[in-house]
Amino acid sequence: MTEYKIPEFSANWAEEDKGKWGLVVDQDLCTGCQACVTACAMENNIPWVGEADAAYGRAMHWIRIERFWEGEYPNVRATPFQPVMCQQCGEAPCEPVCPVFASVHSQVEKINIQVYNRCVGTRFCANNCPYIARTFNWRDYERPEPLPNQLNPDVTVRRRGVMEKCTFCIQRIKRAEDRAKAEGREVYDGEIEPACVQACPAEALTFGRIDDPESQVSKKAKSGRGVKLLEDLGTVPRVTYLKGGA
């Protein structure tokens, strides 16, 4: 049993290597079908913001499919789709800027978590996120019947004025760890699938432990096709993008 202490005030944000979760996105396999976006919204109780707000860019998605093309119309060529979610940075720019510690690094899961009921809504974290991975609850969005019936009881329903973002489906990680503990074993590779990974029909997404060199996600990340988004900023992202395979 680990003993958790209140973190001491210290400028050292580095973390241990053990227990890191990571994601691999194979852009050559991604079809841009948006199944991950939908699954994520269902799993994490993400509200539907309505047409007007969505058109103004306030659609609340923890994962988005970025679509680019090269050339001028009509001679355009599509480039691979790029699903972008929170990169769960090891040196997350969103963490030090929050004045109330609502954006913090989890000591256990080694991911960046948002404490919804601590958030006061300064939105500094979202500004400082180079991936624009955070979404803000601009209003209290309506959930007409029967939509409240499909809310995931494992995930907090957020109110207006707080920031939120991808958690790597921490509730699924926790459930699998609890089950493994009850059965007296370790969590095996591939046991945990965040909603996006589970829903991806092309199997473009892989989730697992990146501190375990034998895991699927580690092998893929080291396959030589891997790149990280904006790695030069020094954010140490946990998500690897695979691109350029034959």
Partner: protein, 483 residues
Amino acid sequence: MSEQKTLYSPSSSVAHSGDDELEHLRREHLMLDPRPRGEMNAMVMEAMLTTSWKFKLVFAFMALVVIVCLFGVWGYLIAEGIGVAGLTNPVYWGIFLVNTVFWIGISHAGTFVSALLRVFKAEFRRPFTRAAELLTTFGLVQAGLSIFFHMGRVWVSYWLFPYPNERQLWPNFHSALSWDFLAINTYLLASTMYLFLPLIPDLAMARDRSTGWRKVFYRILSLGFRGTEGEWTHLRIAMNIFAFAILPVMFSVHTIVSWDFATAMRPGWNSTIFGPYFVIGALQSGLAAVAMVLVIVRSTMKHMTYFIREEVFDALGKLMLVISMAWAYFFFNDYMVQWYGGDQFTEKLLHFHEAGPLGWMWFAMLIFNVAIPWLTLWNRKIRRNPWALFAIGLGVNVAMWLERYIIIPLSLTINFMPFTWRMYVPGVEVPLGIGTLAFFILLYMAASKLIPLVPVWEVQEGQLAHTVRRVGKEVVVSVAEME
């Protein structure tokens, strides 16, 4: 002007050539044009107690605007959420923080003019230090309000305070916003005390000359000041400490405001020169605001043409010109280094500033901040024309507001993820911004009727210290060291 002419028309029996010069000096400088203490006190009291129907009309209108645009719209904003404002992904900060930075900038000049000129013993400061200090305090109120508008959950804003609680939760002192919160609070407290200290003798003066509720009001506020030697000594020591101590606080506040941006990982923000650049920008807009307020005070309040003379506008105009040059230097320095860095996103952003859909803002900023002050303020006649200075000051303030608009929502439009680039369209920020302006005017108007706007004792002290002597044919002005 006509009033002064009748009072000081040169006597026809002037025989000595030096008398013309003396007369000129007297008309030019308040310090060389003393009046009896009783008369001057009565002038200030009359300026404070006279309210015209125009004043009441403007006051009522501002009060209405504050009730509707500030408290009404703010209530709507709190009830509905930030969605009624124009903020969106990725422009998470908008006009609310533009207004915050703008008002903090305005609030800088009050202290700058008052404390710096007091420390350097610049005599022309004497009649208008209080008018400038009021700008600081009321400007900071608007800045604070704008931060509260901005917060997603303003009802828990007290979490930013480091207060002991059972969960041992503290503010995050890594965050520039925490420093900002503390810096603004420090500045508000310090500037209010700095406003209050030199006010005490004037409040005592007002107490001795009023009746009814005003008597009670001034009696409480003047803290029993009777003008004994010991009280003056203590007051002088306290004011001296504050004048020196508030200067670093003033510099730190806007530097810390700039760190909100400079420490962030955004193209266009991550600039090491933002600290001094913001301080100079604050002085730029603040000095212009002081000039504007003085023009209005002078033209609307009784006897103010005696206290606020053209020498004041002349000096402020020179300061504005120097600060405008300094601002241009820092702007160029910031721009140059960012452009030279060659980062592709920064390059896109700089191009977007000047050639994007709101490129006119960028050009308007440079025209009103640099071109117009440089082309006009070198001229003595223009500097000494209050309404010309008012127009230039208004242009500078518009330009400085645009500068903050360019730095905040316009720069947030461009980021490292081109897929998310999106323009920002203001929503309820507009009525709330108008509301803060009206609230500022309302507070200022109320203060001008509640406290003596001219520090009478400082003017009298200055006049006592000045003497005019004649050495041969030369007229020599000398100032005695009093403090």
